[in-house]
């Protein structure tokens, strides 16, 4: 949906990957460029998080304060992002919108990850018929376009914070479930698990001491990569008028509200909320991508961002 980093297609044998490595270095996608990308992403993400955490307490201004004498002012020193059709400062509104988007995104990504990890781990650990049944379920779910299913859920449960979280969570657990299941299956065949079992370890001990730590990095990575997806999905729902209520305008809601001004020719109320969706998406994707390369340098990951 959002940023997808094509992972190397064939690096199973070290022979190709060694050469690909040389090519990558020649192509400027080597370590130096990667380090730069990680640093830029980290700075951007830190800026976003700080803005979201610090602006509301430091500037106790009412972001909803209507000032009709100053409506639709273009960007200036006083209002860096301009003002909207009700004279509200857009920078402030964007920061508050980002706060809502990030919060909903985090909670929704958490829901999706917990659900996906539970299903994937259960399928991988139980195996047999239960595994087949659960994976069929995943297949059925992935045949329905995410946003459409999300729209359906919100339509049936009425727009609001929890339906939106539910809608993101119920549509985004599939990839996590697949990843975790694959990871559990691969771990189960490792000698150290056999050793633990023959050493008399109980099922619970094997699961908690050996399987969970092995699966955890992948699950956490999936969760992190899920956040931009969740933000994206929520903003799309909000843009369609099916998301959060107007007094909790997220970035998608702000874009939707700006449509009228845009048709009158004022671009700033539309431009800035969109930029605020793009920046955290790229920052998280940049960091998570580098992390993925570290923990998973060779295998082609199923993760799609």
């Amino acid at each position: 949906m959002a940023v997808e980093e094509p992972t190397p297609m064939k690096t199973e044998d070290g022979w190709t990957s060694a050469r690909a490595h040389g090519a990558a270095r020649a192509a400027g996608t080597g370590r130096a460029a990667r380090t730069l990308r990680v640093r830029v992403s980290a700075v951007l993400l830190a800026a976003v998080v700080l803005a979201v955490l610090l602006v509301p307490p430091l500037f106790p201004v009412d972001q909803q304060a209507v000032e009709l004498t100053a409506k639709l002012r273009p960007p200036s020193w006083e209002h860096p992002f301009g003002t909207d059709s009700l004279g509200r400062d857009l920078l402030l509104r964007c920061v508050y919108g980002l706060r809502v988007s990030l919060l909903v995104g985090l909670v929704a990504a958490l829901v999706a990850t917990v659900l996906g990890t539970a299903v994937g781990a259960a399928a991988g650990a139980l195996g047999g018929r239960a595994d087949r049944l659960m994976m069929r379920l995943v297949d059925v779910f992935s045949a329905v376009p995410h946003l459409l299913l999300g729209i359906f859920i919100v339509a049936m449960f009425r727009p609001g914070v929890w339906p939106v979280v539910l809608s993101v969570g119920l549509t985004h657990w599939l990839s996590t479930a697949r990843i975790v299941r694959a990871e559990v299956l691969s771990l189960r065949s490792r000698p150290y698990i056999d050793a633990a079992i023959s050493g008399g370890a109980s099922r619970t001990r094997v699961a908690l001491r050996h399987l969970v730590p092995g699966v955890l990095p992948q699950a956490v990575l999936a969760a992190v990569l899920m956040v931009p997806h969740a933000i994206w999905h929520e903003s799309a729902l909000s843009f369609l008028g099916l998301g959060l209520p107007a007094h909790r305008a997220s970035l998608g809601g702000l874009t939707e509200a700006a449509r009228g001004s845009l048709l009158a020719g004022d671009w700033w109320p539309t431009l800035f909320p969109g930029l605020f969706i793009i920046i955290p998406t790229l920052a998280i994707a940049g960091l998570a991508g580098a992390w993925r390369e570290r923990i998973n340098p060779r295998r082609r990951s199923e993760l799609m961002l």
């Binding site: 949906m1 959002a2 940023v3 997808e4 980093e5 094509p6 190397p8 297609m9 064939k10 044998d13 022979w15 190709t16 050469r19 690909a20 090519a23 020649a26 192509a27 400027g28 996608t29 297949d139 059925v140 992935s142 045949a143 329905v144 376009p145 995410h146 946003l147 459409l148 299913l149 729209i151 359906f152 859920i153 919100v154 339509a155 049936m156 449960f157 009425r158 931009p228 994206w232 903003s235 799309a236 843009f239 369609l240 099916l242 998608g252 874009t255 449509r259 845009l262 048709l263 020719g265 671009w267 539309t270 431009l271 909320p273 969109g274 969706i277 793009i278 998406t281 790229l282 994707a285």
Partner: protein
Amino acid sequence: MTAPDTGAVAPKTPTPPETAPEHLPELEHPPGPAPGAERRKAMARLTGRRLLAAVPVLAAVTFGVFALAAASPFDPVAQYAGTAGRSASQETLDELRANLGADGSFVERWWHWLTHAVTGDLGHSTSMRQPVAEVIGERIGWSALLCAVAFAVAVLLGTGLGVAAARRRGGLLDRCVTGLSYLLQAAPPFWTGLLAVWLFALQLGMFPAGGLSDTGSDAVTPGGLLNHLVLPAGVLALSQLPWFALYVRQGVGDALEEDPVRGARARGLRERTVLLGHALRSGLLPVLTLIGSRVPELITGALLIETVFSWPGIASATVEAATAADFPLLAALTVLATFAVLAGNLLADLLYGLADPRVAFEEM
């Protein structure tokens, strides 16, 4: 269903990977499993198998849709009766419930809906006040047109940009294409669409901002339609393009490092032939397997783009239906979209088999 990347590649060549990576020139590998007519039969069998497999999936999806609706606070009777429902007697409401087919458990309602849907009766849309089948019939052509044009543009342009970027990885063009692709992938299509409206429709006045025909006239003329199609199709294509560009760049770039390409260069073939005949051909294969997975993304994009540009297609009907909690229409549209996804997967597998004679259709 079809994870197109599982077991789709079935290289029959038992040669060790060191001497023969996946991309062998046509002449060197033994002929594919079944040439000519045999192969067409195999494709027909695959199509039949997939259609059969789609039946339980569609049934399961509708079941899930009915289960979700049953779990939600949504009540069709209250919605139908509106404010009059508050003053109506219980008997009237019960009667209404029976008339709407909303009595009984959701499993019964699901079965009722399913048996009727098979005969083509998809129920009555509450928000459009007309049969669901009619709503879909009126709109599906416009959506198909928009999606097909956008998808074709995205595939062609994305492949072109990907190849151009792969030619010299790390070059200026490559960095521009990759950077723009990441940016475009992170940008929500509705936002890109709105900015396109601002720039091309309002500032430059080149294209209309939305709809099918100019204001004041209802007639849809081919020329006018084309004019109205440019912006929505362009933005939808722009939202799908980065994926193709990045994957083709990766595939072709990798293929350029491989022995067949080195061999072709050593034989003194023209760079053009090497790039398009050797590298693109093998580099495109992995992309082709994943093309089916783009259908959901295309539908997602269409949902947003049609809303931005007031395009009278299925997707904008979905949004209207959702706003009005129009269950019959939403249920039918969900099934339709699921079907489109399954069809897309099948199409991708067939294309892949056509492009790579080593693929055995029996194993898909």
